[in-house]
Amino acid sequence: MKKSRDVYILFSTLILFFLVNIFYLSMGWLDFWGKGLGIVTGAAFTLAMYSFLYKDNPVFKIAENLFVGVAMGYWIIITWFNILKPDVFETILVPIFKETGTPPQFTILIPTLLGMFMLLRFSKKLAWMSRWSFAFIVGLGSGITIPNFIHAFILKQLTFDSLIAPSIPVSINNFLVLLGVVSVLIYFFFSVEHKGVVGGISIIGVWFLMIAFGASFGYTVMARMSLLIGRIQFLIRDWLGLIQ
């Protein structure tokens, strides 16, 4: 009974969507061969995604799977044109067979080979070769992380602002910042039981954390609402033309 109602809703929505588009196209409000077809496609995908709000349904699943596929395809093609083609194909392969004015850079063979080894992760027999590539990348990443993080996120973040500033509000704020940083660090200190003074400071740390999470909460609500506003703007401006 319930299922048949869902099917009914699904089909009437689809029919309504087609009717609206046919109406718009025939009235010339949407220009089919120009941007019109693209806008209709975009509106279709937007509405298909929102159909999840009613409940998980086939239209949403088809749209989502198509999207996942397209995004992967786009990633592959962009990687070809932006990385593999200029950095590998045109620096090694092309100069070997064609006079391009620059000799082939054979040193690039090393990362190319390591890159190909990486793909052996899926082979049962040769998976161990992929470890060389991962070791290279992960070792490199770890090595550059350590000193740069110490510099940018520890030394630069330790600010020693005087607690006696020219104005009282600034002094109070400087004190609160110090208290906040120290108490939060103490909250994440696991080698001492949170009792007595340490316990007290760690409770202050929790307050600071909660205010900060409140700020994040507010901002996240703002972010999601902004995304929705953008999509509704698309629907009623670009598709339906209700606003300019």
Binding site: I150, I154, F160, D161, L185, F189, F190, S191, G214
Partner: protein, 406 residues
Amino acid sequence: MYNLPNILISTVFVFFCAFPVFAAGGKTLIPPTDFEAYDTPSDNGKGVSLRWPASPSESIDTEYVVFVSRNIDAPFVTEALRINSQTMYEDNSDFKYHYAEIDPENILRKSSAQNNQIRKKEKYYFKLAITSGSSIVETGKLASALPKSDWFDWKKLNNFVLMISFVALVLFFINHARKSPNLFIRKISGLDAIDEALGRATEMGKPALFVHGLNGMGSISTIAAVNILGKIAFRIAEYDTTLKVANIDPIVMSVSQEVVKESYMEAGRPDAYVEDNIFLAASEQFPYVAAVSGIMVREKPATNFFMGYFYAESLILAETGANTGAIQIAATDSYTQLPFFITTCDYTLIGEELYAASAYLSREPLLLGSLRAQDIGKGILIVALVVGTILTTLGVGFVSYLFMAG
């Protein structure tokens, strides 16, 4: 080798130099009394540092110009630097000195449109002048410098010392924990709630649901989550309840199956282990949300565990769970999602508490040791912050100097 235009320009120069003091709008320009050039310390062998005392004729419309040449006899025509006279004071010099770092080779190459990549090691000569409007007055002293490469950046000494000490701390404590795995870790308050929640699930005869988050086995959050899952599974086996684990990553799923199976064996209940209870719910974020929410609504688990790294799906999962009346315990280091867990779950382990909980439960020396080392690192920074701020307040900049980023 002088070509004609150069000779012309140098002649003009000689002409200017013949009248060292020019009247500019009735104002006399006094050139700086001194001028020095030297190899920039701790650099890659390209830079030259220039330093000179401030001139009394500095004003908004006065500029300093530095000319560079490869040869002491050659004319100084290439401008290496042109700055407003009231800028680029040396730090902590109280506006008494100017300081600039330049790359003379780069400047000379650009001016002569040469593009050969090879750099010669040679001495550069510099001449300083002060200028305003059409008048220009040079400092009598020529300065020269030979840039050279250095093998250690002394400005980064404190950084280096910190790194070495932290390496020592981490290695020492991991070794220490291997020998004596009884390193103290404070109680994590949310952990006690696990027993309570499982007890309730047993009473109600309903399953407990464990959700990993979206990340794969490569993420520390997932590893920590799987560690905790092992302990939860052990308790579940003892209590004789059902445990369901909804996965999104096939590798995480097979690891979880192993871990849970082991825990059931340990608890002496291998018969109670059902492999299908640890399943792949979906492979994409939103279908996963839909699938897990569906399980929550249909089976109404008594307890939901959200442990690992979460993205936007956290909100929908935790909301659905809260509305089915389950006790919810969350543990995540994804700070952007924590607010939603705190407002919808009964207990939430915040950030690093997730790792601490996993170390606390598993007593793994690797985790314990590195946790302790990190604590000591934090301790040092806390002390530095407090002492440094007190000293700064008293007007002593010693600690802040030690921790200055180079």
